[in-house]
């Protein structure tokens, strides 16, 4: 299942291999296809190569062999990345942080501020434009980070355990918000997480990686309703999916 009116990119990994400087093979020949507009969760134990996989898809690190292809292989800056922590520029206020990608791309100030305001509106932060990161809560900082990623209207959104450091309630609100944004925008989302419940709640498809070599132990389309809300948290179907994912991780 993909989001309505999908405008995301299709990502195809062919025999992708990545070896660290200490000769540790992090990913040994991975084949994976992610459909345009899909919401994919990537799970696995620490050190299994989840973050490395994401960095390679973002183009921040190249594979040692194999290929990563995007379809359509269009313009630059169509990929956005959300890190484990918010990683905002502390000397810039919320608006200037959200507008940063557009500034780096050379967009005029008026236009980039307008787009940044729209992105901040989507994450509910219009009343905090002039505040600095040090004056925000952890959840608000993460929402600025999300707005910064969305401001370029990316076709591929990569998230590396973005909500891991947040409390349960904030995390739940952000999960719902992210899912709504995905449905509205139709981008492809790849979401790396340690949390089985978060993966099952958010994604339409989940892959579980093995402890070493990045082998795919489970690749499953999640059979859950399109609308994910608080009721789903107590749905037996969600529990069933979580058990399957957990079983694959612990196997």
């Amino acid at each position: 299942m993909t989001s309505a009116g999908a405008r995301g990119v299709e990502v195809q990994l062919d025999q992708v291999r990545r070896v660290f400087d200490n000769n540790r093979v992090v990913i040994a020949g991975m084949d994976l296809r992610i459909d345009a507009g899909e919401f994919l969760a990537v799970l696995g134990p620490s050190g299994c190569g989840k973050s490395t996989l994401l960095r390679m898809i973002a183009g921040l690190a190249g594979p040692d062999s194999g290929q990563i292809r995007m379809q359509p292989n269009g313009q630059r800056f169509e990929t956005a990345f959300v890190f484990q922590d918010a990683h905002l520029l502390p000397w810039r206020n919320v608006l200037a942080n959200a507008a940063l990608p557009l500034e780096l791309m050379g967009e005029a100030k008026t236009k980039r501020n307008e787009k940044a305001r729209a992105a901040l509106h989507q994450v509910g932060l219009l009343d905090a434009l002039d505040r600095y990161p040090a004056e925000l809560s952890g959840g608000m900082r993460m929402r600025v980070s999300l707005a910064r990623a969305l401001v370029t209207e990316p076709r591929l959104l990569l998230l590396d355990e973005p909500f891991a450091a947040l409390d349960e309630i904030t995390r739940f609100h952000l999960d719902v918000q992210l899912r709504e944004l995905w449905q509205r925008r139709g981008m492809t989302v790849i979401f790396v997480t340690h949390s089985v419940s978060e993966a099952a709640f958010l994604a339409n498809r989940a892959v579980v990686l093995a402890r070493s070599g990045g082998a795919i132990k489970l690749d499953r389309r999640l059979e859950l309703p399109a609308v994910r809300n608080i009721e789903l948290r107590s749905d037996p179907g969600l529990g069933q999916e979580m058990r399957l994912l957990l079983g694959a991780i612990e196997e």
Binding site: L60, F77, A80, F83, H87, A134
Partner: protein, 257 residues
């Protein structure tokens, strides 16, 4: 506590030991426990300051110019060298050991060379202040630039930022807290460097200290030393003010504890 209360506390706390020390020194000298030709009574220092005020103020002005000019040169050159060293690991490995070596050369031994190169006068004083104060700026700025958050570097890379854009919009602003730490250390060293330069090249408070010493005017030596220290404190305060204005909204070092 409100900010007024904090400010009062910040100014009052250091005044207490100063008052106690001054009163104790006055008492010990007057009672003959300490000989006046070794340590003058604070009242004698004050009298020397008043009696020689024209000479001391002129000397203070000259030392201020030498210290400030040397300090500004250190700040600009130090930042430029740090940026250059941070641009490549090879450049850093090749040149940073020499920057450390430069720091370990004793200034008092180099000062006569500075006179040979620059002659007697303010230019040697500026050079001496520069040599004494440039290293902390280099070391701290370099460390700040190199410790930029890696995910932020990735972010800039993801959006195609050039090295120059990354330097000015990310690396240098991120290095500001450490740069200010370097400038604070450097401010005091610039005054020390200027005084050392004046010992050899003449002029300023260094020259007053040297002349008063030969005349056994220990009260005047103390008066000049006190003014030199106040100059160092003023420079330090200026950097603190700049640091506060720049970092107060975003860095923990300038926020209320």
């Amino acid at each position: 506590m409100n900010s007024d209360g904090r400010m009062k506390k910040a100014f009052l706390a250091p005044l207490i030991p100063l008052v106690l020390l001054t009163l104790s020194a006055e008492f010990l000298v007057r009672q003959g426990f300490v000989r006046a030709y070794l340590v003058p009574a604070p009242s004698a220092v004050l009298r020397a300051m008043i009696d020689s005020r024209a000479e001391l103020l002129q000397a203070l002005f000259a030392t201020s110019i030498g210290s400030l000019a040397g300090f500004v040169m250190s700040a600009l050159t130090g930042i430029a060298i740090a940026v250059l060293l941070s641009s490549s690991r090879v450049i850093q490995r090749a040149f940073y050991p020499y920057a450390i070596f430069f720091q370990t050369v004793p200034l008092i031994a180099v000062a006569p060379l500075l006179v040979i190169w620059f002659g007697f006068g303010i230019q040697t004083v500026i050079a001496s202040a520069f040599v004494a104060s440039v290293f902390p700026v280099i070391a701290n700025t370099l460390s700040g630039i190199l410790s930029t958050d890696p995910p932020l570097r990735d972010l800039f890379k993801l959006y195609g930022a050039s090295r120059l854009v990354t330097l000015f919009k990310l690396r240098l602003p991120a290095a500001l807290p450490q740069l200010f730490t370097g400038l604070r250390v450097s401010a005091g060293l610039a005054v020390i460097g200027a005084i050392v330069g004046e010992f050899i090249a003449g002029g300023g408070l260094g020259s007053v200290v040297e002349t008063a010493r030969t005349q056994q005017r220990i009260d005047k030596v103390f008066a000049a030393v006190l003014l030199a220290s106040l100059l160092g404190l003023a420079l330090f305060g200026l950097i603190n003010l700049l640091s506060h204005l720049t970092l107060r909204r975003w860095h923990a070092s300038e926020q209320p504890q």
